[in-house]
């Protein structure tokens, strides 16, 4: 059956494109991170390699590839190499269920419209949750396998941090589910299409961020912590732990951790956009350009990410844990219950 | 075609692995893991049977079992830590102040 094989080819292409896009996004993010940090510190950032330093990421990668691979003698060989691979793999996989555009036939190329999403699952939210949680393993293993004090402590710290914020993360997810009544990300995104008319004049996008602002706040804060980004970048905490769990990593395996971190940022942003910011929908703008809107929203969030990093000082570790357990967690529980009560009251 | 029996067989296999682990492994954590494998083997059975019976009950039960497994793991780890404080080892053979 030609259609089936065609759709298979299409599916593979889609996966390839997503994969490549994620790779590229990491490279682009590295560039922008450096650029923005430069701006934030009133300097110019990378500007030597290529025009405006645009080729800087390429140079970085080439350099990393040709670096000497060092592995401490006492390290656990298998786990040492497995850890970065695991990190990177899970980072990529999590994006699979995020829809980044409306169903399209690609201008009539296809007989049936296909969703712009690697996998449309009815339990997509759970899958995201599950796969991102698996990222912790990479960090723990890296910390443990290196057999270095800094690595171990970094690994432990970051895993403790990640699990601490995962609870708030999960509960804020639940608050969206209460509103959306579905576990499918596509359903959730579709439910956010269109707009309300506030006082019949002011259009407000039907984004859940307006229904559950606290949920969005919790989600994003927890997301930052989940991805070990400043102000929660403890695993790396250069001043305390050298480079945390990847102290002993060099060359490509180091690059993979780096890659995983950036891809994770994209994933968290993608999920946040899908859950709270209407996904690829912007009221009043054409849906067929959805991927573009989606990209734009992600870019905005990512900019926010980087902005935060260069603006806010790093928390102290005990403050970080306190914040997670004693502020964010109760807040997320209250948020969930209030949201649920609100939904029941108004529905 | 994968039938119920395939799942049950896999589940039995996992259960046996877990059982064997409890008897053969010589590390406290591994013992704990073996027990968890046993519980998960049973979970597999539940889900498979639930699907075979055409009800979601099997999956619901699995939820409860997961909870129990988590609680068990938490308590088990706590006990292991308590033990470790005394002897600085994870080998069950080191703990002989009570005769078996």
């Amino acid at each position: 059956m030609p259609t089936i094989s065609f759709s298979l080819v299409f599916q593979l292409t889609l996966i390839g494109v997503v994969f490549f896009a994620l790779l590229m996004s990491a490279a682009v993010l590295v560039y922008f991170e450096r650029k923005i940090s430069g701006w934030a510190q009133q300097r110019v950032g990378p500007n030597r390699v290529g025009p405006l330093g645009l080729l800087q990421p390429v140079a970085d990668i080439v350099k990393l590839i040709f670096k000497e691979e060092l592995r401490p003698k006492a390290a656990d060989k298998l786990l040492f190499y497995l850890a970065p691979i695991l990190s990177a793999t899970t980072a990529f996989a999590a994006f699979a269920v995020i829809p980044f555009g409306p169903p399209t036939t690609f201008f009539g190329l296809l007989e049936k419209p296909v969703p712009l999403q690697v996998a449309d699952l009815n339990v997509a939210v759970l899958v995201v949750f599950a796969i991102t949680s698996m990222g912790i393993y990479g960090i723990v293993l890296a910390g443990w396998a290196s057999n270095s004090k800094y690595s171990l402590l970094g690994g432990l710290r970051s895993s403790a941090q990640m699990v601490s914020y995962e609870l708030a993360y999960g509960m804020s997810l639940a608050s969206v589910l209460v509103i959306a009544n579905s576990l499918s990300l596509r359903d959730i995104v579709d439910a956010q299409a269109g707009a309300w008319w506030l006082f019949h004049v002011l259009p407000v996008p039907k984004w859940y961020v307006f229904l559950a602002p606290v949920g969005f706040f919790i989600f994003f804060v927890a997301g930052i912590a989940e991805t070990n980004r400043a102000p929660f970048d403890f695993p790396e905490a250069e001043q305390e732990l050298v480079a945390g769990y990847h102290t002993e990593y060099s060359s490509m395996s180091f690059a993979l951790f780096f890659l995983a971190e950036y891809v994770n940022m994209v994933v968290v942003s993608g999920v946040a956009v899908s859950l709270f910011l209407g996904g690829f929908y912007v009221p009043g703008l054409p849906d067929w350009l959805g991927p573009l809107w989606f990209l734009g929203k992600i870019a905005a969030l990512l900019f926010f990410y980087i902005w935060m990093r260069w603006t806010l000082p790093r928390y102290r570790y005990d403050q970080l844990m306190d914040f997670g357990w004693k502020r964010l967690l109760p807040l997320s529980i209250v948020n969930l219950l209030v949201t649920a009560a609100g939904v029941l009251y108004w529905s | 075609m994968i039938t119920l029996n395939h799942y049950l067989f896999l589940s039995a296999l996992l259960f046996s692995i877990g059982t064997a682990g409890v008897f053969l492994r010589r590390n406290l954590i591994t013992l704990l893991l073996s027990v968890e494998i046993m519980l998960n083997a049973v979970n597999l059975s539940f889900v498979a049977m639930g699907r075979f019976n055409g009800s979601v009950e099997g999956q619901i039960i699995t939820f409860f079992v997961m909870t129990v497994a988590a609680a068990e793991a938490a308590v088990g780890l706590a006990i292991i830590i308590a033990l470790f404080r005394h002897r600085e080892t994870l080998s069950p053979d080191a703990f002989t102040s009570l005769k078996w």
Partner: protein, 478 residues
Amino acid sequence: MMTDLQAIMPILIVTLTAIVTMVAESFQPKGERVPLGGLGLIGLTGAAIASVLLWGRDLTGFGVMRADNFALFIYVTLCVIGILTILFSGVVVDRERIPSGEYFALTLFGISGMMLMAGASDLLVIFLALEVMSLSVYVLTGIRRSSEAGAEAAFKYFLLGAFSSAFFLYGVAFTYGVVGSTRLDQVAATLASQVSGPSVMVILALAFLLVGFAFKVSAVPFHMWTPDAYEGAPTLVTGFMSTGVKAAAFAAFIRVFLSAFEPMHGEWAPIVSALAVATMVLGTTVGVAQGNVKRMLAYSSIAHGGYLLVGLVAANSVGKAGMLFYLASYGVTNVAAFGLMALLSTEDHPHDNVRDFAGLWYRRPTMAAAMTIFLLSLGGLPPTAGFVAKWYVFAAAVQEGYYGLAIIGVLTSVVSVYFYLRIVVMMYMSEDVAVDPAPAVPRSAMAGLALATGAIFYLGVVPTRVINLAVQSVQGLF
């Protein structure tokens, strides 16, 4: 909804008390001490009263909990065990530096799990209850952090307990596979309608459930954890778990095997008989060789499990009522015996060697007399509760023609008298008087001992009332 809640009211009360105890302790101001034991006493008394009020109403809670007389009888028994435990605990907890909030809370959580287990009419709920109970008891076993033996005992208990619950759960899975439900009434209905003999799945279900229960009631050869757990745990906890866990496990055992799996009595009776024989024989013979009293009582508790299994095999109304009576009398006796040992112990001196009892009669005649009564009751000598209990169980066996079981039972109980008497000999007939490390016994503990002694004689001399209640309890079991 209201009747649902009513049906689980005793459990609710205990659980609530447990939570309040736990939270109250963590919120108590530094230096001040909230009387946590008192909370437990109030809660347990309340639960017992609630159980009595529910008597005869046969309510069903949420479809998975029964508040039938059987459950209520066990509830009251468990409450009494809990009350006794708490009465003994007050001074001992301080003396042995056991964290009191956790101790009382876990005890109460354990009791709530036990009650849940006795009242559950759904295999899954039984499993959950089993875990609630077990997890509490595991932690209680290792609650003295300074005690290496405690931690070791806790781990052994935990490992084999978790192992056995996995077996139990596998049995539940098979039952679910056959029946499509874990509700006991539906299991019974399905099994009863099997015309062409039980299928492999049913046999597997039966076998796994049996192994799970056998572990929990420490039937030989699934008893390995018992002596270690009993010896390593703080004495009070040993008393608590040797009675409460046994009562709850047997309650569920009875409910599952005599209601749901009743149609397969022919299949499991021979196996359980073999277990019973092995349990009685090994429990007593190995018990003889023990120098540690806790270990000795552990083996005695194994043997008592064997006697109870005899009642289970007999499976007639006498046997079932007898088991309930047995559980009640054994529970009161054993918890009191361990409590007394705990009262005599200090932090660095556990008072658990037979030698520690030397000359106790000369030092503390009241304690010695009480201990004697408990031991005689454990040994099944009239006119104590233990005698009537054994009488009942063996009567059930004889009634069903299991003469062999009954004979082995009575002979092993004679052997067991031997090792109970060793302690008596030490207390009364030893010339070398051991040092008495423990300070005075507080009034609450004396009240507990008096209560237990009274109960033992009450059950031993005028057992009619309790027996009638037990008979009423098992009537609704089918």
